[in-house]
Amino acid sequence: MKTQRTLSWTAGVAMLAGLYFAATAPPDVIQGEFVRIFYVHVSTAWVAFAAFGVTLVGSLLWLITKRPVADRTAAAAAEIGVFFTALAILTGMIWGEPVWGTPWNWGDARLVSTAVMFFVYVGYLALRRSIPDLTSRANRSAVLGTMAFLMVPAVYFSVNLWRTLHQGPTIRPDGVTMDPEMLRAFLFNLAAFSILFAAMLVSRVRLQFAIEDAESASPGRAATLSQPDLEML
């Protein structure tokens, strides 16, 4: 509980600081003030990729060790990954409107493949919801969680295979093509979003175990609690 509280507070403070750096970083020579969405857009995309990476690791760990925490971590990471993928698509569309002149472009490989990745992981969550037995759910989700990760390199390398409007990497092995102040704001936001992801992950895994404990203690409880709501309808 202490870890969760510490992570939540750290995430909150880091996000505020990240917002400050993003707001005070210099504007881009070509894109002007619109470049500020870059700090949020890339960070959300990074968290989405990291989350699906955690889903892969959790799935493999479940297959090897059969420890419930591995499966619940994989599921929690997938939920967070879906949320941040949606955010990355949304912020990308907001950014695309002024910069590309359109929020959506079918000619952009990364945009389209990211949307498909979103649907694959929505399918992962739907599969989990459709299997009541915990062990069977964990087994099948682990196989799908492993296979679905194929989408991550497919999205990342799609720009090399297909046509794209996306710019190339700004941080490359041969150097950084970014103003130092912008780089600082970018790296800080990346770190802040990563801490936020860690906080959300810990919180969601704990919640998942709490729900299971409550359900196993009193199987009919959830239905009883929701009865007044149903009657109101």
Binding site: V116, V120, L127, L144, M151, A154
Partner: protein, 220 residues
């Protein structure tokens, strides 16, 4: 009995069952052809543009209707069939490979029927070395056959499996569709298709490894 012999028997049995039920021949094939007719009507595109998108339409129909083929009724096992497989000591990996082989065969057949339909009604420009397109189509059939079979095992016996399976299968088949589409474009412009072929081979290899190693886990 070794793994591949068991897989061959499963594939043969699946194809015989399918032959008797006629689900692909009498339902999926006409439905796919109908989709190819409906697209030009719905979009009202000029003939020149339809010619340009002809192969793209073909791959989309192969992907979407290929899902019906891989998730067909004869590829699903009832509980009593599953029990029988266990009693006969059938290797679950052989079941996966056999079902995939049967689906691949049916998908190749589906593509073979849809290709002349597309050529006749869309009249797309056929690349000079069209033999390579046959190779791409066959690799796509293998990739889709394996992906669809794996998805079928994943959703087997779950709530809302009929709605969930196409969502998963179509999403996971996306890299294969991109590879096939890219290969067609590159062949049309005389470029090398090594990258799309490598992507298709990679998908086949990864799906084979995941399917074979996890088949016993998905048996329940």
């Amino acid at each position: 009995m070794n793994l591949f012999y068991q897989a061959k028997i499963i594939a043969r049995t699946d194809l015989r069952t399918e032959g008797r039920s006629g689900e692909i021949l009498w339902i999926v094939l006409p439905y796919g052809a109908l989709a190819l007719f409906l697209i030009p009507i719905a979009t009202s595109l000029p003939a020149a543009l339809l010619r340009e998108i002809g192969f793209g339409m073909y791959w989309v129909v192969v992907l979407l209707f290929g899902m019906f083929i891989t998730l067909r009724q004869s590829a699903q096992s009832t509980q009593s069939q599953k029990d029988l497989f266990r009693l006969t000591l059938l290797d679950p990996a052989a079941l996966f490979l056999g079902r995939s082989l049967a689906s691949t065969t049916l998908l190749v057949g589906f593509q073979a029927v849809m290709a002349p339909v597309t050529l006749a009604f869309f009249n797309p420009a056929v690349p000079e070395n069209w033999g390579l397109l046959v190779l791409v189509g066959t690799l796509l059939a293998v990739a889709m056959g394996m992906t669809g079979t794996l998805v079928g095992l994943l959703v087997s016996g779950t709530r809302s499996s009929t709605a969930l399976a196409p969502l998963l299968a179509a999403g996971l088949a996306f890299p294969s569709l991109v590879a096939a589409s890219l290969a067609t474009i590159k062949l049309g412009t005389g470029q090398s298709i090594v990258n799309p072929i490598a992507l298709l081979v990679l998908v086949v290899l990864v799906t084979t490894v995941i399917g074979v190693t996890s088949a016993s886990l998905l048996e329940d």
